[in-house]
Amino acid sequence: MKAARQHTPVVSYDVAKLRAEFPILARSVHGKKLVYLDSAASAQKPRAVIDCERQVYEEEYANVHRGPHFLSEWASDRFEAARATVRKFLNAADAREIIFTRNATESINLVAATWGRRFLKAGDEVVLSEMEHHSNIVPWQMLRDAIGIEIKVAPITDDGELSLDGFDRLLGPRTKLVAITHVSNVLGTVVPVAEVIRRAHAAGAKVLIDGCQAVMHRAVDVRALGCDFYAFSGHKLYGPSGIGVLYGRSELLEAMPPYMGGGGMISSVSFAHTEYAGIPQRFEAGTPAIAQAIALAPAIEFVLELGFEAIQAHERDLIAYATQRLSAIDGLTIHGTAPGKDGVVSFTLGHAHAHDIATILDRAGIAIRAGHHCAMPLMHRLGVAATARASFGLYNTRVEVDALAEGIEAVRRIFA
């Protein structure tokens, strides 16, 4: 608390008022006020999202795209309006370039299973980075095992930045795809994706960006970036779970075979032959997550209304303050010291294992993550088995950072 008063925080919006929009933040855990520092795993939802999903079920629900009745038409309009909101959010050229999936994992798997299977062949190379989440590693390994592509891994520096020189060295005539994270879920590093895309395109490769840890922290303009595919999950963007997005440039999507077969993705079916639907329906077989897609729109509107300038000012202040408070703790090491980090601060503490840290903090009402964060190759690169990770969203406060720092001090006293 004392430290909080020594600095004037950059107050870009009224955080107390904003927190009131997130009902769950008012609850307590183990008899303590909840300090939620796990938004990078999944963010909490504002009332607008919760109310929207409830309203869909109470007043607007029917299946989409098929029913010749009022409610089906209504729900279909709302579903497509949500797609239009995502288009605007990513500044895609056309709403048909927005495919609804379950989550970013499914979005990446979709690209690997359709574009990858159709356009890659044995010996072609896919370039990843050392800081990828398993969801941007395993689909490519499955494709490797199926068709014999090769996986190359771009190195990071000790600060946790992508080595652009190391990346360049991997690019060659056989490079067909670069699949890389926008923001590291462990290190918080922001990858210079515009530059990565420029270099990859110069080498003749397509680029998929895993934007799971980016879209809640920064404006993404897929056309300005020039990326070919962009994937994110709704639940990390203060939206519902069960809904994700894949953006793909229309000329690529048009040429891709379907992902799953079923209803909604065809234009005609006989036992001899099936004509597939156009995009995006071709990739959306079966009844989608209707209410969740519709309720993703108010999440996006919530974020856009605050504005990324204000969100960034607020979150940058939190990251800087957390870095300062945590660095001052004896024996604590912060993993990932790239400038301009987004969202997360990962750390280890002397001999205290990340799980013990998380257990002790949990009893103080503080929710953090501990473990390998689905990035085991990165853990290996860092030389640790696990890290503790505090992650920050637009609703967190310096007071919560203070609680975290005090909680870690308590851990340190136990394990000293």
Partner: protein, 154 residues
């Protein structure tokens, strides 16, 4: 510190976690196995030397993990030495009962002292997600005895 945390991180646990006993490989072990907790990435390897009558002559472990898993492994290597496989089975049952409060407690006849030493892990009961930490070494020991090379707590 809160009571439930004090019960979990008892001095004995912290001591075993800090200075694990029998943290070494056994070159000519009768049995060994690798244990893995995929949830946290913890890896441990357990070694055993069996003497006449299938009595454990030596037990050791290698690996890294949280305070609970390391302390449990360390304690286990001390407790199983000189015991028969049947006694070890009962000790594991006793540990499981202490950590979960579920099932029936096995008979402690003849191994009361060893069973009592497992009481330090009963604080885990209030932390269900940590039960796997406390039992990883024991599951790995079982796998070693069963001749399996790898075990996972999943």
């Amino acid at each position: 510190m809160q009571d439930d945390l004090r019960d979990l991180y008892q001095e004995v646990i912290l001591d075993h976690g800090r200075r694990p006993r029998n943290l070494r490989a056994i070159a000519d072990a009768s049995a060994s196995a690798q244990g893995h907790n995929p949830l946290c990435g913890d890896q441990i390897k357990v070694y055993l030397t069996l003497g006449p009558g299938d009595v454990v002559e030596d037990a050791s472990f290698e690996g890294k993990g949280c305070a609970i898993s390391v302390a449990s492994a360390s304690l286990m290597t001390e407790l199983v030495r000189g015991r028969t496989l049947a006694d070890i089975e009962r000790l594991f049952g006793g540990l499981h009962h202490r950590c979960t409060g579920q099932g029936e407690a096995p008979s402690e006849a003849g191994i009361e002292d060893a069973m009592e030493k497992l009481d330090v892990l009963s604080g885990v009961r209030e932390f269900p997600v940590r039960v796997k930490c406390a039992t990883l070494a024991w599951h790995t020991l079982q796998a070693a005895l069963a001749g399996r090379a790898k075990v996972s707590t999943e």
